[in-house]
C-alpha cells in the first residue's frame, strides 16, 4: 500500500507493523504527531497496544525499561529536551540489555530555544550504549523501525535502538511511502520472546543489581554486542531488501568509487547534497557523498573502504561540541588516522544549507580545518 505520509506517520507505522505492545509517551515538538497517531489507532481498535501517557520523558524511559523487562515489545518517541531528560535512563536501559525502541525526531537543544532539526540531541546519547540509525527519508524511517526490532532483540545484540529522523524536514513533510503488509512483517519479525530477563514469579530473578569488580566485564559485554550488531545490521538489511526491494546498510555511498572529493554527512540533508552532486557531475566534477546511516555502531571499516582512494574529504556536522568541534568529523578523523579532513559545521538549529552552500563547501575542501558555514 503506497501512501503520502509524513516522517512521523511513517515512524508510527513502523511501531504498528512491529506490533509494539506498550507505548509510554510524553508530548514534545516535533515528535508529538507520532504518539497522536498511535493513540488514535489504539482508540479505533486498529492497533492492539497499551497507551501510557506518562508525567515526563524520564518516566517514559523508565516505563519502557520496566515493560521491556517484563517481556513486552515497547515503543516511544521523543525529541531534543525530552531526550535530554531521558539521559539517566538511557544508560540504565542499555546496561540492562533491554531491546527498547525509541524514535528521536531530532531538534536542536536549548538555550536558545529552537524547534528545528539538528543532531546534537541524538549525539549527546552516542556514549549511552544505544544503537543509533539516522534516516534520510520517510520510507527509511518506517523500514528502520521494523528492522530495528529485529536487530535489537537478537540474542547476540540485545541493545536498545534509537531511530533518528530529522525534525520538520522529515517529520512533517509528506512523501510517498510504501507500507508493507502486516502478514509480511509478521513473518519477518516474530513476537518478542526474551530469554535473558523476565519479571515472572515462576522464574524469580533480581534485575538491576549492584556489582563490584564485575562492572568492567558488563561494559565489555556491551562493546561485544555493538560489534555483533554490525554484521547483523547488514544481514537484516539484505533480508529486508529481498523482501521489499529496498536496500540499506551501515553507510550509503553515492558516487564514491571514482570521486576525488567526498562529503560525509548523516540525515535528511543528504538529499539536497545528492542533488548538488548530480548537478556538479554534469559539469564534470568528480564529487561524491558518503552518508553514515549507523552512528552506533560507528561504521569505521566502511568509511575506510569508501574513502581510501578519495583525495579530499569533508565532513558536515549538524552538531557541535564546543571546544572540540564537529562530533562526526572527530570520529571520522579517528577512523582515517592522519588523513586530511575538513570539518564543516552547518545547518545548526535547522539553518538551511542548500545547493549553493554545498557547492561552496566542495570548493573549500583539502584544508584540514574547521569551518562554520552560516
Amino acid at each position: 500500500m503506497r501512501q503520502m505520509i509524513t516522517g512521523n506517520g511513517a515512524a508510527a507505522w513502523g511501531a504498528r507493523l512491529s506490533r509494539a505492545e506498550i507505548i509510554p509517551n510524553f508530548p514534545i515538538t516535533p515528535q508529538t504527531a507520532i504518539i497522536e497517531e498511535i493513540a488514535s489507532w489504539i482508540a479505533e481498535g486498529e492497533m492492539n497496544a497499551d497507551f501510557l501517557p506518562m508525567e515526563s520523558e524520564h518516566s517514559v524511559m523508565s516505563a519502557l525499561a520496566a515493560a521491556s523487562s517484563a517481556g513486552t515489545r515497547v515503543f516511544s518517541a521523543t525529541s531534543s529536551q525530552g531526550l535530554m531528560l531521558m539521559t539517566e535512563m538511557m544508560f540504565i536501559t542499555s546496561g540492562l540489555r533491554l531491546p527498547v525502541m525509541l524514535v528521536n525526531v531530532s531538534r536542536g537543544l536549548s538555550a536558545p530555544i529552537t524547534l528545528w532539526s539538528d543532531h546534537n540531541d541524538a549525539l549527546v546519547q552516542r556514549d549511552s550504549g544505544w544503537l543509533q540509525i539516522f534516516c534520510s527519508n520517510n520510507q527509511e524511517a518506517l523500514d528502520s523501525v521494523v528492522m530495528g526490532y529485529r536487530i535489537a532483540e537478537d540474542n547476540d545484540v540485545l541493545l536498545p535502538m534509537m531511530i533518528n529522523l530529522d525534525g520538520f524536514t522529515l517529520s512533517t513533510t509528506r512523501e510517498p511511502v510504501e507500507i508493507p503488509d502486516q502478514s509480511e512483517i509478521d513473518d519477518f519479525l516474530p513476537a518478542y520472546d526474551p530469554e535473558h530477563t523476565i519479571l515472572d514469579p515462576k522464574e524469580p530473578m533480581s534485575v538491576g543489581c549492584v556489582v563490584f569488580d564485575e562492572y568492567m566485564y558488563f561494559r565489555s559485554q556491551q562493546r561485544m554486542a555493538m560489534q555483533n550488531s554490525k554484521g547483523l545490521i547488514k544481514d537484516v538489511c539484505s533480508e529486508w531488501e529481498k523482501m521489499t526491494g529496498r536496500g540499506y546498510g551501515l553507510v550509503e555511498p553515492y558516487f564514491t568509487e571514482d570521486a576525488e572529493r567526498v562529503l560525509v554527512i548523516c540525515g535528511s540533508e543528504s538529499a539536497i547534497l545528492k542533488y548538488t552532486i548530480d548537478k556538479l557531475r554534469k559539469d564534470g566534477e568528480r564529487v561524491g557523498m558518503l552518508r553514515l546511516r549507523a552512528i552506533r555502531p560507528f561504521p569505521c571499516e566502511e568509511i575506510i573502504d569508501a574513502l581510501s582512494d578519495v583525495e579530499e574529504i569533508g565532513v558536515i556536522d549538524q552538531d557541535v561540541s564546543p571546544g572540540s568541534g564537529g562530533i562526526i568529523a572527530t570520529e571520522v578523523k579517528a577512523c582515517l588516522g592522519g588523513r586530511n579532513v575538513t570539518s564543516f559545521i552547518a545547518g545548526l538549529g535547522g539553518r538551511r544549507i542548500g545547493v549553493e552552500k554545498y557547492e561552496k563547501i566542495f570548493r573549500r575542501l583539502g584544508r584540514d580545518v574547521e569551518e562554520w558555514i552560516f
Binding site: E55, H58, G71, M89, L199, P201, S206, V210, F212
Partner: protein, 306 residues
C-alpha cells in the same frame, strides 16, 4: 483476607532471606521481609535507589521473588508500566514498590503522582528513615524539624511534608502509616493494601541506627517510642476517612524518644518542651475529633482494570 491477631499468625515463609548486607538493626529490611511474608511468592518488587538497593549484590540475591531496580525517582513509573506489561503477559502478581523516603517524598514524587493519578493496582511502601539514609543521612523533606543531618548540622528548620495527605489528595483508595515495631498493625495494612483495587500507599517509619544514632539492638524500641510518644501516628485513610489504628493509652514523654537518639542530642530541655507542647496540642485536637474523621475527599473508584 486473614486478619492477623498475634505474632504467631504471621506466615513462617520468608522471601527475603538472610546473608544480605543491610546494616545491623535495619528496620527497612525487616519491613520488606515482613511485607513479603504476607504478600507471598507471587509478588514482584520494584525498588527505588536507596539502602535496599544493596540487597542483591551480583552474583548473589537474598530475594526469592522477582526484583527490579532501575533508578531512584521512577518506582511509580516502573509500576505503571509493569502493571500493563503483566496484564498483557497474563501474569498475576502483586506489584510492590519499595522505595525510601528521599525516593518518595522528594525526587520520586512526580512519577509516584503519575501512578497514583492512574490508580495503578500496586502497593507502594515508602520505607521512611526520615533522611537520605543510604548516602549517609542527609536532609530530606521527610526529615522532622530540629533533626540533625549531615546537611543540617544545626538541625532542620522546616517541618516534614505530610505525604499521606498528598497521597490522599490523589484520591487513591488506601493509605496508611505503619512501623515494623508494630508488626501486626503493619501486616494487616499490607493485606488491605493488597486486597484493594487500585493504588495503596503505606508510609512505614523505619528507625535507622546509623543515621539516627542509637544502638542497633534498640531499633524496635525506638519505633515503639516514636508511636507511643505520639510523634509517629499509626492510621489508615479509607474511603476518605482517616482512622487511627493505635491510640497510646498514656502517651510517653517525647523526651524519652528524642533523648535516645544522637540526631536530637543538640536539643535543650526547653527545645524538647516546645516539641512536647506541639505534640500535646495535636493529640488534644485529635481527642476532640475522636481519632477518626472525614477528610472530605471523594475516592477514585476507577482503576485500569475497570
Amino acid at each position: 483476607m486473614d486478619i492477623l491477631k498475634k505474632l504467631t499468625d504471621i506466615p513462617m515463609e520468608d522471601y527475603l532471606v538472610g546473608g544480605h548486607v543491610a546494616c545491623q538493626g535495619c528496620s527497612a529490611s525487616l519491613g520488606l521481609r515482613l511485607a513479603l511474608k504476607v504478600l507471598g511468592k507471587d509478588t514482584i518488587v520494584i525498588n527505588g535507589s536507596g539502602c535496599m538497593t544493596l540487597l542483591p549484590v551480583y552474583p548473589n540475591t537474598p530475594l526469592k521473588v522477582p526484583w527490579i531496580h532501575l533508578a531512584i525517582e521512577n518506582t511509580g513509573a516502573a509500576g505503571t508500566a509493569l502493571y500493563y506489561a503483566l496484564r498483557r503477559k497474563n501474569i498475576k502478581a502483586n506489584i510492590l514498590g519499595y522505595a525510601g523516603d528521599g525516593a518518595t517524598y522528594d525526587i520520586g514524587i512526580q512519577s509516584l503522582s503519575g501512578a497514583a493519578e492512574k490508580n495503578i493496582d500496586m502497593i507502594y511502601i515508602c520505607y521512611n528513615n526520615q533522611s537520605f539514609g543510604n548516602t549517609g543521612h542527609q536532609r530530606a523533606s521527610s526529615t522532622p524539624r530540629a533533626s540533625y543531618t549531615t546537611t543540617t548540622p544545626f538541625g532542620k528548620v522546616e517541618t516534614a511534608k505530610d505525604m499521606p495527605s498528598i497521597m490522599a489528595a490523589h484520591r487513591i483508595p488506601y493509605i496508611a502509616t505503619a512501623c515494623p515495631s508494630f508488626p501486626i498493625d503493619f501486616l494487616n495494612k499490607v493485606e488491605k493494601a493488597a486486597e484493594v483495587a487500585g493504588m495503596a500507599f503505606i508510609d512505614l517509619l523505619v528507625p535507622c541506627p546509623v543515621g539516627w544514632g542509637f544502638d542497633p539492638a534498640d531499633g524496635i524500641d525506638i519505633g515503639r517510642l516514636a508511636v507511643r510518644t505520639g510523634m509517629w501516628k499509626l492510621y489508615e485513610i479509607v474511603d476518605g476517612r482517616l482512622n487511627l489504628t493505635y491510640i497510646p493509652e498514656k502517651r510517653r514523654k517525647v523526651s524519652e524518644y528524642l533523648r535516645a537518639q544522637a540526631r536530637f542530642s543538640h536539643l535543650s530541655d526547653e527545645d524538647i518542651e516546645k516539641i512536647q507542647a506541639e505534640v500535646d496540642c495535636e493529640w488534644e485536637e485529635l481527642e476532640e475529633r475522636g481519632y477518626g474523621y472525614e477528610l472530605g475527599i471523594f475516592v477514585n473508584k476507577r482503576h485500569p482494570n475497570m
